[in-house]
């Protein structure tokens, strides 16, 4: 009997890894990839090792070690994480693996929660490593056991690239068996494989190049590519990954008689592309982000001397940025066949207020930013980093965000360039452990004069509350050492380290004043648990209310920007809603003593 279950794409991916017999999984949280490890870590009957590593490079290296013992391993991250792990990854392609190894890098077309839209398939091309590009959550799950076998057969790591709509899509999933027997680890000392000094690296590069053709041939035969030729269709559509189902839906809906090639693997299936090109005179390539298939199709056509016009991103038929969907495909068809576009129905419209995401009510980051702004003022420069606190842009204290860990190094660069204004950067605890540590060390040794604020909310909140080295437990909830941020900073040579409770505005502002005065790198650690994980851990606080008789309607509390405080324009009085989590910061802001704790 087959089992069907309704699940999130990432849960289906976790399931696929289990069905593929995975034994070691490491990763760093990042939307949309995080729930893969969250799911595997939460399982009770674990017979594998699963960890949140401090960053993607480290996670990659852990997975490599495991694969070199002959067991199956996985590393998970979001697309930009692969930039961090690119160093080991590029060389791993030469060395190869023994056990199957899958690099999962989840792409985020449209930047739903990312700083860029880069296309992981480019990395696959760059490293000469095969890539699997699922079209649906079901296919994602089914591809994984196949990908492990494939990786083992050719002894190369493989990339698996889900996109946001696969990772965070849900679907009925048909489950397969989870194997019980798994190989025992056995590290073979193959020095010419595992020691990439030039003498060994050169022949490995040659070897990697030599297997490309067989990889391509094997993939072309795989179930992830399929060609449907219509006998006398002169128009062909090629859809890649998730874009292939959008194209298929639109074609079915319209009942168009065109030939259709679905691509789910790279290097692309040249044979199938040739077969299609030989029968049509126009082909439309539909793929998200980079025109990778499109470039290949053009090269293949040219090499074979086939006259065919290729429509896609490079000639503006398909948008190069953002996410695609069925409507986008219909648009392209209209352009291609010069069809009438329906006139936009211009009815009345309503002015809607934007609803951007905001820091939660009671989030300590808001309080820290408030104090920071008070002390450093408008004139200062505020580099920041990646996490919930990036939303502090609304507080005016987030002025740069480049990549994980960069706030401290960007701050140093601003200082060394000769900026005379005060510089106060901010970084989260998890981000600090990820790669901020290196930047801090660098700033101290090279004598920057900056204030570094570590927003220590004791968790990796943004991606769904995963543990980091500061919290004292692992991905699976086992107790472990709790690394002290203050001791770590001191050990790296920081001479000014101050730990404050951001809910106490005065204390925090005193610390910022002292930090501002300090010549050199001053570290302020603002420590208060994230209100969400705090609530889960049982922290309960009394809510606050505003006394309408005392409120003068000055709106100081409103400016603070807490979502729990609203202003009643009729009675010119502020009110606190049920969202209040009891941090008490607004009570310290109100000059008229109108905000008070509700004692229970």
């Amino acid at each position: 009997m087959t089992m069907r279950e309704y699940m999130l794409g990432n849960v289906a991916i976790a399931r696929g890894l289990l069905e593929g017999g995975v034994q070691v999984i490491a990763g760093y949280p990042g939307t949309p990839s995080s729930e893969i490890i969250d799911t595997l870590a939460a399982r009770k009957d674990r017979d594998y090792h699963v960890e949140w590593s401090v960053n993607e490079k480290v996670a990659m290296e852990v997975a490599v070690g495991a694969a070199w013992t002959g067991v199956r391993s996985v590393v998970t991250m979001k697309h930009v994480g692969l930039n961090v792990a690119a160093d080991p990854f590029m060389t791993l392609a030469y060395a190869g693996t023994k056990g199957g190894m899958i690099v999962i890098a989840a792409d985020d077309p449209s930047c739903h929660s990312s700083q860029n839209e880069q296309d992981t398939r480019r990395y696959a091309q760059f490293a000469l490593v095969p890539c699997f590009d699922p079209a649906t959550p079901q296919e994602a799950k089914d591809m994984l056991p196949y990908a492990f076998e494939f990786s083992e057969k050719f002894e190369v790591p493989v990339i698996f690239r889900p996109t946001t709509r696969i990772s965070h899509g849900k679907s009925d999933i048909e489950l397969g068996e989870i194997p019980v027997e798994k190989p025992a680890p056995n590290f073979e000392k193959l020095l010419d494989r595992w020691v990439m000094l030039p003498k060994n690296a050169r022949p490995r590069h040659t070897h990697l190049l030599s297997i490309q053709q067989s990889i391509e041939d094997a993939l072309a035969e795989s179930p992830w590519n399929s060609l449907e030729l219509k006998s006398d269709a002169k128009f062909g559509v090629i859809g890649a990954g998730i874009a292939s189902v959008y194209a298929k839906e639109a074609l079915t809906e319209l009942g168009l008689d065109v030939s259709y090639l679905k691509i789910g693997t790279y290097p692309v299936p040249k044979k199938l592309i040739l077969e299609l090109l030989e029968t049509v005179d126009t082909v439309l390539v539909f793929e998200e982000l980079e025109p990778i298939v499109e470039e290949q199709v053009k090269m293949i056509a040219q090499e074979a001397g086939i006259e065919v016009s290729v429509l896609g991103k490079t000639n503006g038929f398909v948008p190069r940025e953002g996410e695609l969907d069925v409507s986008a495909f219909l648009e392209v068809l209209k352009k291609t066949f010069d069809l009438e576009t329906e006139a936009e129905t211009s009815g009345k419209s309503l002015e809607l207020a934007p609803r951007p995401p905001a820091l939660c009510a009671g989030c300590s980051h808001r309080a820290t930013f408030h104090s920071m702004k008070k002390v450093f003022g408008k004139d200062a420069i505020y580099p920041s980093d990646i996490g919930c606190y990036t939303l502090g842009i609304q507080s005016g204290t987030v002025e740069t965000t480049l990549c994980m860990g960069s706030s401290i190094s960007v701050a140093s660069g601003l200082y060394h360039a000769g900026e005379k204004r005060p510089i106060c950067c901010s970084i989260g605890d998890s981000t600090f452990f990820h790669s901020g540590m290196n930047s801090l060390l660098n700033a101290i040794v090279n004598k920057a004069n900056i204030t570094v604020t570590i927003l220590d909310n004791r968790i990796t909140a943004m991606t769904g509350h995963q543990p980091n080295p500061g919290v004292g437990y692992t991905a699976t909830g086992e107790p472990t050492v709790q690394v002290s941020l203050e001791e770590l900073c001191k050990a790296m040579g920081a001479e000014f380290v101050s730990v404050v409770d951001p809910y106490k505005l005065e204390e925090t502002q005193e610390a910022f004043k002292a930090a501002k005065e300090f010549e050199g790198v001053a570290v302020v650690i603002a420590r208060q648990p994230c209100v969400i994980s705090g609530k889960r851990a049982g922290i309960r606080r009394n809510p606050y209310v505003i006394d309408p008789d005392k409120c003068e309607g000055c709106k100081q509390c409103i400016k603070f920007g807490c979502p729990a405080i609203e202003f009643n324009e009729q009675n010119k009085c502020a009110v606190i809603t049920a969202l209040c989590s009891g941090c008490g910061v607004c009570a310290q802001i109100c000059k008229f003593d109108a905000i008070q704790e509700v004692k229970r």
Binding site: E5, T31, S113, K170, V326, S327, G347, P357, I558
Partner: protein, 199 residues
């Protein structure tokens, strides 16, 4: 209409992060699987959950991708009035809007940057092109025993339109809400269902 056609429904759930849109869509998704129907859904994760605008696509009886094409949704279930309007592009002309009339004021409004439109204006606007069923689901949930059950009130409200038996949906509610709150949630479901049946 063929049998298969009748079992096809594209539904959009919109709301604000924290309102329980994901649980609402999970109840429908799980029930669809039990009823033997293929189901696809897409939801908002990450930043948008911090009180931002969220939208879930649910496609019952569908074998393609999870994203509903523009003007493709048969039904829009809005957990918040302003969020009903934000995603109207996805709704078919003449489609159905089931809307909770209880507004949630965004920070951009509390901080005085913009204004929240009158709920009555929203209703007038929607009624021009769509069939609208609107009521205060927060109040119904409160009467059922817990304001937090608002999302289940809304599932009850849409239940009559789904190609899924009511019993199957109720089983799914029982399986997905916290054990202690099952009674409250079943009452909430009934309250929502009745509200729409009456109107």
């Amino acid at each position: 209409m063929s049998q298969a056609e009748q079992k096809k429904l594209d539904l959009l759930i919109t709301g604000v992060g924290g309102q329980g849109a994901i649980l609402a869509s999970d109840i429908i998704g799980k029930a669809a699987v039990t009823a033997g129907l293929p189901i696809r859904a897409a939801e908002t994760h990450g930043m948008a959950q911090r009180g931002g605008s969220v939208v879930n696509h649910i496609r019952v009886g569908n074998n393609y991708g999870s994203m509903i094409p523009k003007k493709g949704a048969d039904l829009l279930l809005a957990l918040e009035p302003m969020e009903a309007v934000r995603y109207l592009d996805f709704l078919k002309d003449g489609g159905i809007v089931i809307m909770n009339t209880q507004p949630i004021i965004p920070v951009t409004v509390t901080s005085g940057l913009t204004k929240y439109p009158e709920v009555s204006d929203i209703l007038d606007f929607l009624s021009e092109k769509y069939i609208v069923k609107a009521f205060n689901a927060d109040d119904l949930a409160y009467e059922a025993g817990n304001r937090l059950a608002m999302n289940v009130v809304m599932v009850g409200a849409v239940s009559g339109y789904l190609p899924i038996p009511k019993e199957t949906l109720l089983e799914s509610v029982k399986a997905l809400v916290p054990q202690k709150t099952i009674e409250v949630n079943l009452r909430a479901f009934e309250a929502g269902r009745q509200k729409v049946e009456e109107s």
